[in-house]
Symmetry: D2
Subunit: 315 residues, 4 copies
């Protein structure tokens, strides 16, 4: 009996940017791909055991709702981020057969894709008007199906969708600002934390005791006092009657580092809720910027000094 | 010649939640409604003068991309928020004719709508599978059109879409958590700032000089030192090579109040970029929580005392 | 051979307030009293081994120079505070024989004693003018000596000096504000730290990296982030060419407590110099005010939670 | 009738370091010198109108009690610091007639003077033992008087006392660390504040609402947020039943500067008591270190920007 392949839930169908992120970590030969209709379904699949992992976008809403991802991670079964992947977001213009770009009159595109390529379209496809599609891959699937009247001439699709659906690529790299990059993450159950690499991120969800400016400062000082930088912070309404907020935070560093450990202990003490959502390598491998007085050596020196004082030494 | 009506750009078409927000401030009799395909187009219409105002969602992505709104306000022609409106988000199940909910096998819904109603659907429409739609109103339009094969039996649509498209309502208030509320805002050109009401919000976009934790604290202390609470903070990658971040902030209070004025001056001094995006009444009319040592009286007393010292008084 | 008695250096001679402080911890039967001419000499006696302990005033300059004490503790041989004692500071009016207060024309007094009793003297000894004396006990010694012309009729002396020098007390409790209390401390070599009592103080001397306001805040945040209150802070010029300052600090709590340990480690990391000057019981036995989120239980909970996260638990 | 000369109260008698400080601002020809027995008397003389100004030491207790100065300024009639003067503190060894240093067996000295010169004495006057004197000038006066038995052979006195009392100088510059410098200040009634020079100090006395570490930080953030550095901070027990503290503070900058004005307004709002004790030029004329984002230009720019926003501009 063959070994069981790991199962990955992700925003499908074939050809999405999310699938491109998944391919960075496991080829279809090494894994069971479980396409889902939306990101919440992907996370739920891990929570209920029907998948081992999920791949979802965590920054910029190129695909799926980042808000929904954050809100889902904040409650229910504990899930953690294990890895992050970067995917370059550029679109291909695809159709059933080769036609000049200027002949395209109806261009199918998800509204976000349209928004990201508007300038490019105006310049290269001056006769095209927008036919909104439900997702980036919906028009690809429709072109691949037998139907004769699909309501559009061409579509903006993720590059991988061209081959996945047997389409003709009229243009590549349609985008207004060269190319954008989106961050995806691999989600799984808590367990062994990925080893620190020196270029790590730690994701958290915390609540504040009240909504005074002082409470936010008190929380952030837990990081600053230990020299932990933040790469993202986002307040989100908790939805209770008190108008309180939770904060979704990415901090630079790893759970195993002393400065991060002390900061987490501080949060645990002063915040009513702290949820650890994973320590994992940054996809860009950019080493964390750690001041010399907050690195592991500085902590080890301080710890040794304190131990010496406590045993009656002169310090 | 009749007076020109004010022109409002908004995420259309008829029947959207955004239109419901627009109706709170101007009926179709009093205004020219200019439906747009997406929120960026709505904002651009104001920027280029083809509309006087825009209405867009600013929190939770029930319709349109909040990220796109924030990013658009952050650059280009200066636009400001002039008012905010709350819209209760619940969906109606609509079809061309009355059928039992349990007969619905293909339910059209925008993925976000589907996600918000998943539990309700499982319970009330156990036989329905999801047919993704491009927007909340796309399936309503399709049902209202002549086409015979629309590919679904019923759809989740905003309540207002039922009448707008002459549909039959199979169920109302489809939602998992009773009802959610979404915040919309009215956008216009800078000009007269709405008068303070005691329950106001001020929206800002600021950049930090660097991404150290200390820089974030320095910025937030500009608020805390003056007793200004924040109701929302969200970091957004600037996209430059330095990995810097901008922050989208809602602060409690009004531009005309001394504590807010002093905080803004502080930001202007310590942050490389500060963009004022409006002071406007909170839709929930919840009075701002102002401590007695940061209210206008405390500032007036302190100013009087300082003036006395400067003129040689004993203080 | 009898056991060696512990040797205490202190600001003498007999009858000083400092001696009164010393008597609180060891009677002359139990200890060898080594009176010194000034506080620096008392500290030096411990440093060079000619005494085991020193007793010196640490707050308010009723006797000896507090500045000299702090400056001496800050450099040279490491010494620590082991205990603090409170002494009520009120003066007796003493003379060689009983005379009416109103007959006193020349009243010997150390300038500080005179300053503290000025109002009382004006009211009770309207005919007295000030004859400055070198210390509180100098005039007592002079009256006890054989000399006929001592240049004054009576003197303000510590209460204990009346009996010590065989004088006549014309009045007791001479003071302007009822009675003041001065803090004295017992100084010794580092060694076993006194056990925590829940009402402890920790004394420190720290340098800042530079004299910017931000550096002072960074230092103080090391205390505040861990919920450690300060009961005294005093900046003192270091005397180097950079105009830098050291800070003499009394913090509420004990070296063995986790919040104090973490604060000390933070200081060690961010300050160029940190000198631990002792953890010892407060003489007033006023329990330290510790918020529930910074006490030992809160730290133990946070530590347990962190350990659980680090071993892969859900946290 | 000749114009009335300004009257200066100071710690006398002739020959003190305080008199040397006074000579820096007014020669005996230009002013009436009013020597006082102690610093409190000097300040009281101004308060009750018997003097126009007082000169007192404000740092290091070379003469008079700095604590008494600070405590006196903190209460009662409002007085302010108008100027500061630096005096080099070194001592002369003086006697009635020329004798070798090594012949001196009894050396009169105020205990502080003795402490400052101890090493020098050990090396240069190995046979001298200490005869404590009540002040730096007491032994000079005694040597100048007719008495035959003054109880000592020579004395440590301020350099000016040698000529003032017609003494013989056996040695000059007796001191352990080359020379120390002490800060004196000129005290007067509030009135016209000295013009800013760019190298100014502002002295304050403030109370905190409670003794939590957070309260101290809140107070200090009023300075830091506006970029105002502190050159001295000293906590002093208020003496009330709550164990509260007042803080004596020297801040870098002038009352008329916008950053100082804003900081003072902040203190006034958040502290129960703030007493302004003067803005005056630093004696060392060291220009204040002002960051470019907190100087007057930065404030003017921020104010202009705020005014523009408030008048409806785009900002």
């Amino acid at each position: 009996m063959p070994p069981t392949l790991p199962r990955y839930a992700y925003l499908g169908p074939a050809g999405t940017f999310t699938e491109a992120a998944l391919r960075q970590i496991a080829s279809p030969d090494e894994a069971t791909y479980l396409p889902q209709e939306d990101v919440v379904a992907a996370l739920d699949a891990v929570a209920d055991g029907s998948a081992d992992f999920a791949v979802v976008a965590i920054e910029n809403s190129v695909e799926g709702s980042v808000s929904a991802v954050l809100d889902t991670l904040a409650i229910g079964v504990p899930l953690v981020i294990m890895r992050e992947m970067l995917v370059t977001v550029s679109f291909s213009v695809a159709s059933r057969s080769a036609i000049p770009l200027t002949d395209v009159r109806r261009l199918a595109a998800h509204p976000h894709a349209w928004a990201q390529c508007r300038g490019w379209i105006r310049e290269n496809m001056p006769n095209a008007s927008h036919v909104p599609s439900a997702s980036n891959t919906t028009p690809a699937r429709e072109m691949a199906s037998a139907g004769s009247d699909i309501g559009f001439d061409a579509a903006l699709v993720p590059p991988a969708a061209v081959a996945a659906y047997g389409l003709t690529e009229l243009a590549a790299n349609a985008a207004d600002n060269g190319s954008a990059v989106t961050r995806f993450v691999l989600i799984g159950h808590p367990g062994e934390v990925p080893a620190p690499t020196g270029a790590d991120r730690t994701s958290l969800m915390v609540h504040l005791p009240d909504n005074e400016a002082g409470a936010l400062l008190t929380m952030l000082e837990q990081f600053a006092t230990r020299g932990v930088n933040l790469s993202r912070i986002e307040s989100r309404p908790i939805g209770d009657e008190l108008g309180r907020y939770s904060f979704s935070i990415d901090a630079e560093g790893h759970l195993s580092e002393p400065r991060m450990g002390e900061a987490l202990m501080g949060l645990r003490r002063v915040c009513p809720v702290v949820r650890f959502l994973g320590s994992y390598p940054r996809a860009d491998a950019a080493a964390n910027d750690v001041r010399s007085n907050t690195n592991a050596d500085a902590y080890a020196d301080a710890r040794g000094w304190l131990d010496q004082l406590r045993s009656g030494g002169a310090g």
